[in-house]
Symmetry: C2
Subunit: 330 residues, 2 copies
């Protein structure tokens, strides 16, 4: 690959169960153009790939470029990915895709080199290269939303494990025999600290007669679901039930961070995702002392930075662009 | 380094709080000679280093060799180690050694290149290169004794973390607010599945009036402590209290293994240490189904081998020899 090729923009794609986001990214991580459309997974693999290709072309056009100006594309996908062979092994959020050769399909549709990786892994890689983790030697990314996912960067490289399923930190047990998780196990961090868990506990409190401004906020917003921003509003107003439930979630997240520091001993832990973004930096303040308290080696423990993610919704897309560039470079 | 130098034996040292074990190890991992003496940490650093040097000389002599035949020495130490700089940062079991430049002191005493690393890390490396983990790409080692330690091999290399304290799997919380651990935290695996935890629960059961053959075995052996072999005898005889308590320890160890597979996704998990050795291979049988049940990605989960360690008391010594050879090779 010549120098010119190296400088060419790449396209990063964030493929989720509801939307496709594509962005043209230059060599310094700047987004030159982007496009978005609904995923419509109910249409099947062919339809989704077609929609992805359309979104990519739109983003390239929006950046004022042609297909020939692009060096490669890389898409994340939610699920278990065989990145080496470019196959989505299993993606429950994409209507149970199984063994879909997504990299090959994308490459054929766009006539470009194409790569894929897991969405949370790429989000972590994005934060590492272009976000909160720049210059670190190792970091763990934790993303808190309806679920809790994670990714590992070790010696500057994404560690995706033997089967491509490393970083499933949300499904580590911290309270054996605790509440049932979406995965069927009990006491996973996800069942204790995700937005889903917070929502479950807030509704249980309200049902049991606890006072809260949550029903009022939801009625005003005209939404059925307890969104991260509704949570943030009630938290900011000091709603006691919301404070208590989120406080418990923060405790378990702190325990998780302590566990991960004891196992991996990274230089940094980056915490992102919908809940973190909605609640702001103050969300992390109660997590840090719990995490450090649980570190077995206290020496330098407080030098392990625990910081908020910086790239927001663009983490996976930018991580995909970084990954494409790394794979092209061999 | 010439080929001849590469073939030279090295000396591995297992430095513990009670004994020093030194072994001369050839290029294929064969122990050519060994020696042992008490550590006597109460004598201070100088005394311990002198005793280590004597033990090394004795082992070399026992192998029918001279100091000139040895390429390097490597010692493990129990505690936090800065392997790069050769410093024992903190070792509670060595009368609280702090910032001891052990590699330099050993090198001066023996006029040989000297290296040091953490004991459990080297035990894991030993199992990886010469024991149960041969040919794997990645593995996690878990050693169950009075405490629970661990080590990580990723892409064939020891991962010791940013501060040199990775692999502290025994101090990960699996039962928040559970029993108090020796480290002061609550609900660590070590407080639920170590020999210390098993002993605590068995005595509590006996004190509460549960029938058990443990008091009889201990009286017969004339020992105060509940040794791993006494546990093994009662377990083999089907003692209901011992079976119940060990069953609980196995459950929590299974949860830990599941957590580690979800975080790191290694190709193999090796379980060793006093309790494992005393109870035999059958000890692992109830651990496997729990571990696999807690794996979030079921695809290929059962291909992650969960196996007993093979090197027994020699794991750290052999790991030290492997480490010395790797450091010499650059």
């Amino acid at each position: 690959m010549g120098k010119e090729e190296k400088e060419k923009p790449v396209v990063g794609i964030d493929l989720g169960g509801t939307k496709i986001l594509a962005g043209v990214v230059d060599g310094r991580g700047k987004i030159l153009g982007q496009a978005k459309r609904a995923t419509k997974p109910e249409g099947g693999v062919e339809t989704v790939v077609e929609r992805m290709a359309k979104t990519v072309r739109e983003a390239v056009k929006g950046a004022g470029l042609d297909a020939g100006d692009i060096a490669a594309v890389c898409s994340c996908a939610p699920g278990t990915i065989d990145a080496e062979r470019g196959i989505v092994q299993f993606a429950p959020n994409l209507q149970n895709w199984e063994n879909v050769p997504l990299a090959r399909l994308l490459s054929e549709a766009l006539k470009l080199p194409a790569f894929i990786e897991n969405d949370v892994n790429l989000g972590t890689l994005g934060e590492y290269v272009l976000g909160a983790g720049q210059g670190m030697s190792s970091l763990v990314g934790i993303f808190v939303g309806t679920g809790i996912g994670g990714g590992l960067i070790l010696d500057g490289e994404l560690w995706s494990g033997w089967r491509g399923s490393a970083g499933e930190v949300g499904h580590t047990v911290v309270l054996a025999e605790g509440p049932v998780c979406g995965c069927g196990s009990r006491g996973c961090v996800e069942a204790l600290a995700s937005r889903t868990a917070i929502e479950r506990d807030i509704w249980a409190g309200i049902k049991a007669g606890r006072a809260s401004i949550i029903p009022e906020i939801i009625q005003r917003n005209g939404r059925q679901r307890l969104t991260s921003s509704a949570l943030a509003e009630a938290y900011a107003q000091g709603d006691p039930l919301v404070r208590e439930v989120i406080g418990r979630a923060q405790f378990y997240l702190g325990v998780l961070v302590g566990n991960l520091i004891n196992i991996i001993d990274p230089q940094m832990v980056v915490i992102g995702g919908g809940v973190t973004e909605a609640l702001g930096d103050a969300y992390l303040d109660p997590i840090r002392p719990v995490a450090y308290q649980y570190c077995i080696n206290k020496r330098g423990a407080r030098d392990v930075a625990i910081v908020p993610a910086r790239l927001g919704d663009h983490a996976a897309l930018l991580g995909a662009a970084v990954y494409a560039r790394r794979r092209l470079a061999g």
